[in-house]
């Protein structure tokens, strides 16, 4: 699921090896691990056998990635999210098929800074339009159109407006996706049904307040229809 190449390779060193390649030199293993991390070429003398063994060894030793709680009603999810927030979790998220009203407060998220992006990029677009129009029409090559002034600002209003909207709009969309982590290459798909009809809360095992039994019972009490411990790489 969230398994990264580097992680896999690191685990390979500690994981119990199943086959006869146990006595392979650890140096080769390390070289392979680092090469996988750096995406560099593999050492030339390496035979395919140890690689296979390393991959086998990379099988996760059933380490928990976190706790997944599934809900069937947005209001139950809201209540459970409030409880999770009050419990003090940090590395967790709620997954919903549509934006649930009040979920930001329930999760304790602050106000989104997206409007600031809109405003700042709007100002940038505005300035760019002013510079381009006055720069070309007044300084670069002033031309006499029917005896009208070179710096005829009223006729620059439409393009200034359009460029303001263009810069603000495009950067708002990209900025919101960036801030929301949508543009991150690897993301957790909590459950296949969270884009259809299920609501999910996932608490990562790396959370400082994480405690498997406690977290499971927290969500059980909060009315989850299903709570399960998700294994690494699942």
């Amino acid at each position: 699921m969230a398994s990264k190449k580097g992680k896999k390779a690191k685990k390979a060193e500690s994981a119990p090896r199943s086959s006869e390649h146990v006595d392979e030199s650890s140096e080769r293993e390390k070289a392979q691990a680092s090469s996988e991390q750096d995406d560099a070429e593999l050492p030339v003398e390496k035979s395919p056998a140890p690689k296979k063994a390393a991959k086998k060894g990379a099988e996760p030793p059933s380490k928990a990635a976190g706790v997944l709680a599934l809900f069937d009603h947005p209001n139950t999810t809201l209540v459970a999210a409030t409880k999770a927030r009050d419990h003090g979790f940090e590395r967790w998220d709620v997954y919903t098929p549509f934006p649930v009203h009040g979920m930001d407060d329930a999760m304790g998220l602050g106000r989104s800074p997206v409007p600031w992006i809109t405003f700042i990029m709007g100002v940038v677009g505005f300035c760019a339009a002013i510079i381009i129009q006055f720069g070309t029409m007044v300084y670069s090559w002033p031309m006499n159109y029917g005896g009208k002034p070179f710096a005829s600002w009223p006729s620059f209003v439409p393009i200034t407006f359009e460029m303001t909207v263009f810069a603000a709009g495009v950067s708002t969309a990209i900025g919101s996706l960036f801030l929301g982590g949508v543009l991150r290459p690897r993301k957790r798909i909590a459950h296949r049904h969270v884009t259809s009809h299920r609501f999910a809360i996932f608490v990562e095992a790396s959370d400082p307040k994480y405690d498997e039994q406690g977290t499971v019972s927290l969500f059980r009490k909060a009315g989850a229809m299903d709570v399960r411990v998700v294994k690494e790489g699942e």
Partner: protein, 490 residues
């Protein structure tokens, strides 16, 4: 209370149960007064899972024979368009009916017509969003798609109108070896370039942002790994995380706020193409609002035309209900009256200004050689939508379809009348002329519908035609809830 809401939704199995009025419950309101409850936006007791299935299901099945027939007709017309454009570019714009007094012909008429069609989509997605009109959720996806395709079609025409489209980049302020020689930013034609390209980009961004969660729904239902991969890439790996939703909703509001003045500005700037010239019939301060309202009017007529067909063919009657169509018909009636008022105001101003040229142009419009076009325009746009005063007609599918088609025809003729009648009678009678369509005018007019329909038909098969996540958001949660044991799945 919960049980009441749930039973209320089941009480509306389909369209026939909807009345268009709020449900009255006597004694249930404050201080023993009546409580009015609006009819549900989604009928048939659908839950969240049904919404996903009903909408996405169409992109998972093999297209029907009807779709293939429609696509082949559209493709045939599209190729007609390409041939027409090729001829006009290759041999020259003289192939069209344009001549000495009438230098603006089909290209400008079609451009204004198509860009106007687009305006309804942005109105539905942005302005109705700001006004919290929840019924927009059923139709906004298709209306926005219509906007994008209409603007794409519209963009072809000014490009061809330049005569040498390969020099179209001269319209942009790129540094060049000609001086550098810059575009004239005092010219409304240069404003048009910025307005239309900004409009297309922002509409596309807005539409795509809305599509992301729904494309993720398709991905998560996909059985085949390639299908899953393609939609995973298209939805940028959307996973429904609330941290993403939080920023997404904020961006949606910002984009709606930006699109609202944008959509008003686009047709305003298109009208400046006419209004800033010194010609009688064009040189009027009423032009910007008159063009904008006309654009919304024609756009809604196009949305109704498409929706009436689509809801039937794709079985979406439970999502795009008669109440949705009625709401759109009310907008058509209102904007139709504003358009009719604008026509009358133009006449009044021509008389009141005391300008003989202005007066002549308007008398000539209504009673001259192009009176037939003028009266088609006036009847279709100002009189026909008056039928919608009657609730029975607002809720009748055949009536609204006929009215929508007539409005489309009327709005085409509005642009025809504006362009042709002003130009064909110049100040000097020596340079008077007439405008007649050649075969190439017909080719690009009919062909442009082919281009539009081709894109639209492909859209309906590949993307979700109803904004799934937004419809779910306006459903009562007790109706949408899917109870039952979860199948264990990773």
């Amino acid at each position: 209370m919960k049980a009441e809401t749930a039973s209320a939704s089941v009480a509306y199995p389909d369209d026939t149960a909807l009345t268009g009025y709020s449900r009255e419950e006597k004694g249930a309101g404050l201080f023993g007064g009546p409580l009015y409850e609006r009819e549900p936006l989604v009928t048939g007791g659908k839950n969240y899972k049904d919404v996903t299935g009903d909408v996405v299901g169409w992109s998972e099945r093999y297209p029907t024979r009807l779709w293939w027939i429609a696509l082949s007709i559209s493709l045939a017309l599209f190729s007609l368009f390409l041939v027409g454009m090729g001829a006009v570019v290759g041999l020259g714009t003289g192939l069209l009916g344009i001549n000495h007094p009438i230098g603006w012909g089909s290209f400008i008429i079609n451009f204004v017509f198509w860009i106007g069609i687009g305006h309804a989509g942005t109105l539905i997605s942005a302005i109705l969003f700001l006004f919290r009109q929840k019924w927009r959720t059923g139709i906004n996806r298709t209306a926005e798609a219509m906007t994008i395709f209409a603007v794409m079609v519209a963009g072809m025409f000014p490009l061809l109108h330049t005569g040498r489209p390969w020099f179209a980049y001269w319209l942009t302020p790129v540094p060049n070896g000609r001086g550098p020689l810059w575009p004239n930013f005092n010219s409304p034609l240069a404003w048009d370039v910025f307005a239309v390209s900004t409009y297309l980009t922002i509409s596309l961004v807005f539409w795509y942002l809305g599509l992301l969660p729904d494309l993720a729904s398709i991905r998560d239902r996909a059985e085949h790994k390639w299908r899953r991969f393609v939609y995973d890439v298209l939805c940028l790996g959307w996973n429904g995380s609330n941290r993403a939703w939080s920023h997404y909703e904020s961006a949606y509001l910002m984009l709606a706020g930006l699109s609202t003045p944008l959509v008003l500005s686009v047709h305003t700037i298109v009208s400046f193409d006419f209004a800033t010239s010194g010609l009688p019939g064009w040189h009027a301060t009423i032009f910007p609002p008159y063009f904008v309202i006309g654009a919304i009017f024609s756009g809604f007529a196009m949305v109704v035309t498409l929706m009436v067909i689509m809801r039937k063919v794709y079985g979406l009657e439970k999502y795009i209900t008669l109440n949705h169509l009625e709401a759109m018909n009310k907008i058509i009636m209102f904007t139709g009256m504003v358009v009719g008022f604008a026509y009358s105001t133009e006449f009044f101003m021509a008389w009141y200004s005391g300008n003989p040229y202005e007066g002549f142009i308007f008398v000539n419009r209504a009673f001259g050689p192009y009176a037939w076009a003028y009266w088609i325009m006036f009847t279709c746009n100002a009189f026909v939508p008056q039928l919608f005063w009657f609730k029975k007609f607002r809720r009748s599918i055949p009536v609204m379809f006929a009215v929508a088609i007539l409005v489309n025809v009327g709005m085409y003729f509005e642009r025809y009348v504006i362009v042709v009648t002003t130009l064909h009678r110049d100040f000097l009678p020596g340079s008077w002329g007439m405008y007649t369509f050649t075969a190439f005018d017909w080719m690009i007019l009919i062909g442009s519908f082919g281009m539009f329909m081709t894109f639209f038909l492909i859209f309906t098969r590949v993307f979700p035609v109803v904004a799934i996540s937004e419809v779910k958001g306006v459903m009562p949660p007790d109706q949408g809830r899917v109870k039952g044991e979860e199948v264990s799945h990773g």
